[in-house]
């Protein structure tokens, strides 16, 4: 039996993915929701929607607004909660052989600990901590914006969770390097960067001398944030030893290569899944063709040249 080497194989410092194309949390559901468009099991991994201890109904206001270069979302972490995830979503991931990463979100360290325990108990091999959630204790500051809170959080989770631990960094900070270093020091296996930028948009409609206003404040994603994401990856790659998963505004193969050149080992596709629901598989195909056509040995060889 001939063995075909997988040229896209991606080693994230121990976590081996069949390829570096991952779909980002909040844009891909919980498991096989995109089966109508692509074969989801082919992806490097699917990151689940952020899962909290209890189900959450999310925000009441306007949840999505398009801007010239992306969208702003204010979903408010609506999700089914960890219990329903385990009983209804996890079995599908397993039976369909989908590679997955569970994104978890809490509002206290205890909630993160509890969630990590459940993941550990259920043999979930990889989790991504969404740390862009307000830390209820510290007066609503997000965990991911303060080195010491983040260190404490990651350190506590690390004690409990033995799988592969990814920390998802927020760009809404003065120094993303400091936050990344805190995550690394506390035992993270990798970081992913970036989560959404803080953004707002106001739509005005003048009707008989009065303005009808739609205001949204939330997370800004899409092509408009790519320069910020590339900047973050470049800066992180200068200071970290653990792998970086690049996220932010990826829409095509050039964007993927740009993230590799900046230092990312794998990438996550978010908003572009909405624009082109089959984009993740397309990128997979294009990346593999690109490597072959241009005579690179494999993905690692391509990355080496991109960073030369």
């Amino acid at each position: 039996m001939a063995v075909t080497a997988n040229i896209l194989s991606t080693d994230l410092n121990g976590l081996i993915l069949q390829n570096p194309i991952i779909t980002a949390s909040g844009t891909y559901g919980y498991n096989c929701e995109y089966d109508d468009f692509i074969d989801v099991s082919k992806l490097g991994a699917v990151v689940t929607k952020a899962i909290s201890l209890r189900p959450r109904a999310g925000n009441k206001n306007i949840r999505i607004m398009e801007t010239k270069a992306g969208i702003i979302n204010s979903i408010g972490l609506e999700n089914v909660g960890i219990e329903k995830f385990l009983t209804e979503k996890l079995p599908v991931l397993q039976s369909k052989h989908i590679n997955f990463i569970v994104n978890i979100a809490g509002s206290t360290i205890d909630e993160y600990i509890e969630l990590s325990k459940v993941c550990e108990a259920n043999k979930i091999k990889t989790i991504e901590l969404n740390v862009s959630c307000p830390n209820v204790k510290s007066g609503c500051l997000e965990f991911g914006t303060d080195e010491s809170s983040l260190y404490e959080l990651v350190n506590e989770v690390r004690k409990i969770y033995n799988g592969f631990l990814i920390i998802k960094l927020t760009p809404n900070v003065t120094s993303i390097e400091k936050i990344g270093l805190a995550a690394q020091k506390a035992g993270a296996n990798a970081v992913s960067a970036i989560n959404t930028l803080k953004g707002s948009s106001i739509k005005l409609n003048l009707i008989k001398g009065k303005f009808q206003k739609e205001i949204i404040s939330g997370g800004y994603s899409g092509t408009g944030i790519k320069p910020v994401a590339i900047n973050a990856v470049l800066r992180l790659s200068k200071v970290l030893n653990i792998p970086i998963i690049g996220i932010g505004g990826i829409e095509n193969l050039d964007d993927v290569l740009e993230f590799f050149a900046a230092g990312a080992e794998a990438v996550q596709i978010g908003t572009a899944n909405f624009t082109h629901p089959d984009i993740a598989e397309k990128l997979l195909f294009e990346l593999s063709e690109y490597i072959k056509i241009n005579g690179f040995k494999d993905l690692d060889d391509l990355k080496k040249e991109l960073r030369a």
């Binding site: 844009t27 891909y28 109508d36 468009f37 609506e78 624009t275 082109h276």
Partner: protein, 253 residues
């Protein structure tokens, strides 16, 4: 009923695009496979340069062609309008739950471009030989799409058919036609009144809702509305749980 093709996304050719009323257009797209769609379901169109696809109710299907009606509003619809016969268009779908067709005397109401899914429903009801009446309201005669069979037309300015909103004729029409079920599509305020009226007359209403959509398939939770189910208010995704809902389940704003 679902798409018999395995993939719900495809790039296809525009086989026809034509103006059907003031700033409203019909576009027909070739599908190289049979496509079964329930009236009320929608497709989403990728519009060059825009992050979000644009959803449109299916208006017609025949001989491997799918048609939508659209009104020009902003960048997305201007892009679609710019397409010509033979151009390629990237569409996905059909998505969502369409009207739950009952073998009952049916009143169909379309307000403005909301005519699209109910006109499609009407053609299905005719095939099924279910008695029905389509009443539709527009701003003025220029907004009334040509080549669509509408049983009763109202215009706000009275330039065609009855003068006033469809809502003005709702009670009267119900009394005269005595429908057992009402299917409707249009602005939220109109649907709300229809739902309330249906309740008063104790007639089931089914309304096709609209909400800004990102994913179109229920994953982003961007398009949720409040629905009352078993006494509890829960989130329902317009794209996946709808766009058609029972009028009395919607928690109206």
């Amino acid at each position: 009923m679902i798409n018999t093709n395995t993939k719900k996304i495809f790039t296809s050719k525009v086989s026809k695009i034509e103006k059907i009323a003031e700033s409203s257009y019909l576009i027909e797209i070739e599908c190289n496979f049979p496509l079964s769609v329930i009236p009320g379901q929608f497709i989403s169109v990728y519009c060059d340069g825009l992050t979000l696809r644009r959803p449109f109710s299916v208006f017609s299907t025949n001989e491997n062609k799918i048609g939508i009606l659209f009104k020009e509003r902003g960048k997305g619809t201007r892009y679609i309008k710019s397409l010509k016969q033979g151009d390629f268009i990237d569409i996905a779908g059909p998505f969502g739950n369409g009207f739950n067709i009952k073998n009952q005397k049916s009143l169909l109401i379309g307000a403005g471009i909301g005519i699209a899914p109910v006109a499609f429903l009407k053609s299905r009801l005719e095939e099924l030989k279910i008695p029905n009446l389509l009443i539709s309201g527009f701003l003025n005669k220029f907004e009334v799409p040509k080549n669509i069979i509408i049983d009763k037309i109202c215009t706000d300015d009275g330039s065609l058919g009855e003068k006033g909103s469809v809502l003005n004729y709702l009670g009267q029409t119900i009394n005269e036609f005595k429908p057992e079920v009402i299917y409707a599509c249009g602005p939220s305020v109109v649907l709300k009144t229809i739902a309330k009226t249906g309740k008063t007359f104790d007639i089931e209403t089914q309304v096709a809702m609209e909400k800004v959509m990102a994913c179109g398939i229920g994953v982003c939770r961007g398009c949720v509305i409040d629905i009352r189910k078993d006494g509890k208010v829960i989130n329902a995704a317009v794209c996946k749980d709808g766009p058609v809902f029972k009028g009395d389940e919607v928690v109206w704003q």
